[in-house]
């Protein structure tokens, strides 16, 4: 039970990050490594603010804004300085590592003795008795749903349509009289806002900041997006963002199982990477099978016509 709860908790926190990566990877078609820096950026900001007595809830929007800034910088490097997409994001990721250390003041900052968004005087009043075990889970689910709905709503706006259009066909954005560079920067900003927000929640759930906690964030995010879309993307009942959330939870579950069956906690990143590789290969196979099925159906339909 404890394992399931922990998988759900972490899966949903990472889901918010994965929603951000869905914007860059799937909508903008931009390989964004900035997330390896912006995820711990949220963690660093939150732990420092909380340990200085700032209200924990306030750290979430502040983290989101910091993420916006990080994404904007990656965008500016790519669009205005004309640096290739992946390079621009790696430059930003590397720079953020030091920025995070500067913000936190040291490589490891625990906040065990402070209130956080999951555990404070307010939540103690609401949750009591048996609900205590799922208190954190419920609060995480609430934040995750809020962020998911915000993204869903945003993608239905005029600005959201431009974002979808720029990943699809840059020419059309110019044709609409809009600077495509600005749209890309906006997309990167929002995506990293989500990632940084997710990092803030993660730090508060784990109750510490660690300088290396961002390593592999991009891989986790991409794995979640790819699992989500290839397993659940086809179900018409679910929209894409929900598929991404499920993908994130499934991925967390896989990692947890791998660790449980004999692998050490220190193997975590290896498991993360190996699973990601497995997912890429398997999802390609699923896609191929899907196409073969369609072709088969078309084939039989033609035979019937004949």
């Amino acid at each position: 039970m404890a394992l399931v709860i922990s998988v759900l908790e972490q899966g949903m926190i990472y889901a918010i990050m994965a929603l951000g990566m869905y914007i860059t990877y799937k909508i903008l078609d931009f390989p964004d490594m900035t997330v390896d820096g912006s995820f711990p950026l949220g963690a660093a900001i939150s732990t420092v603010l909380i340990s200085n007595g700032v209200n924990a809830y306030l750290t979430l929007p502040i983290s989101f804004l910091a993420g916006l800034l990080a994404g904007t910088l990656t965008g500016l490097i790519h669009v205005r300085l004309k640096v290739r997409d992946i390079l621009a994001s790696i430059i930003m990721m590397t720079a953020l590592y030091s920025v995070n250390l500067r913000i936190a003041g040291r490589a490891n900052l625990p906040i065990y003795n402070y209130d956080n968004v999951f555990d404070n005087a307010f939540t103690d009043k609401i949750f009591s008795g048996g609900l205590k075990t799922v208190q954190t889970l419920i609060i995480i689910a609430a934040f995750m749903l809020i962020m998911k709905c915000l993204l869903d709503q945003y993608l239905k706006t005029k600005s959201g349509y431009l974002l979808k259009a720029v990943g699809d066909n840059e020419t059309i954005v110019t044709s609409m009289g809009i600077d495509k560079g600005k749209v890309k920067i906006l997309g990167l900003a929002i995506a990293n806002g989500f990632v940084c927000f997710s990092g803030s929640l993660y730090a508060q759930q784990q109750r510490y900041f660690d300088a290396s906690m961002g390593v592999g964030t991009a891989v986790i995010g991409l794995a979640s997006v790819i699992i989500g879309l290839s397993l659940f993307g086809r179900l018409n009942l679910l929209n894409y963002s929900f598929a991404v959330v499920l993908g994130s939870i499934v991925y967390r579950g896989c990692v947890a199982l791998a660790i449980r069956f004999g692998l050490q906690a220190t193997d975590l990143k290896l498991v993360t990477a190996a699973l990601f590789l497995l997912i890429i290969v398997v999802s390609r196979q699923i896609e191929k099978n899907g196409q073969r099925k369609v072709q088969k159906n078309l084939g039989t339909a033609k035979e019937e016509e004949a």
Partner: protein, 257 residues
Amino acid sequence: MIELNHIHKYYNPGAVTQMCLFEDFSLKIEKGQFISIVGSNGSGKTSLLNIICGSIPVDQGSILIDGRDITGMKEYVRHQKIGRVYQDPSKGTCANMTILENMALADNKGKPYGLGRSVRRSRIDSYKEMLSGLNLGLEDKIHTRVGSLSGGQRQAVALLMATMTPIEMLILDEHTAALDPKTAEVIMELTEKIVREKKLTTMMVTHNLRYAVEYGDRLLMMHQGEAIIDASGDEKRALTVEDIMGTFNKISVECGN
């Protein structure tokens, strides 16, 4: 009115491969005029369109729309008042969005793209009406992804999207070249209908000499950065495909082709 004044354009300036495309090229386009442009590859047809749209800069000279100088204006800013349909049907639409979403996107051209809802229910009926004007049955498929439409259908939607909002100029860059002859005919008739209805100032580049003769009220033939034929009015009406073909062959011989 659109004016190109003394345009100079070189490719690879300063290099050994320097090539002069336009030297002191000037052109005046009256409001509401429908110009068709023909010419061999490399004659400067598409460059001319790109210069007007701001896709490539000029080295000297100025471009004016209704007396306003737009020479230094950025490409995307110019496009707020220019509609453009490309040769490649995938360039004028978004493949992963539905017809409805594409039209909603184009409907907002020239206005800020803010946080308001993109698809407004009240507009759906007028989108359907515009689509039914195409006679392709697309009005019943508004929730279909544009990527799953045929090239001709996509081009028809692209044409509609380019002309939905008030524009000062319509640019057609070989927009029927990638289509089969039958579909090309349909798109050409649609183009004529839309251009006449909205009285759009139009520049159409085409390799189809028959279209150039049949459609439009002015014909330009480009050759080495100059308009060697510029016919309008009665002169244009008297032109035949054979006339143009004759000139075409003559210049080709001169070039040693």
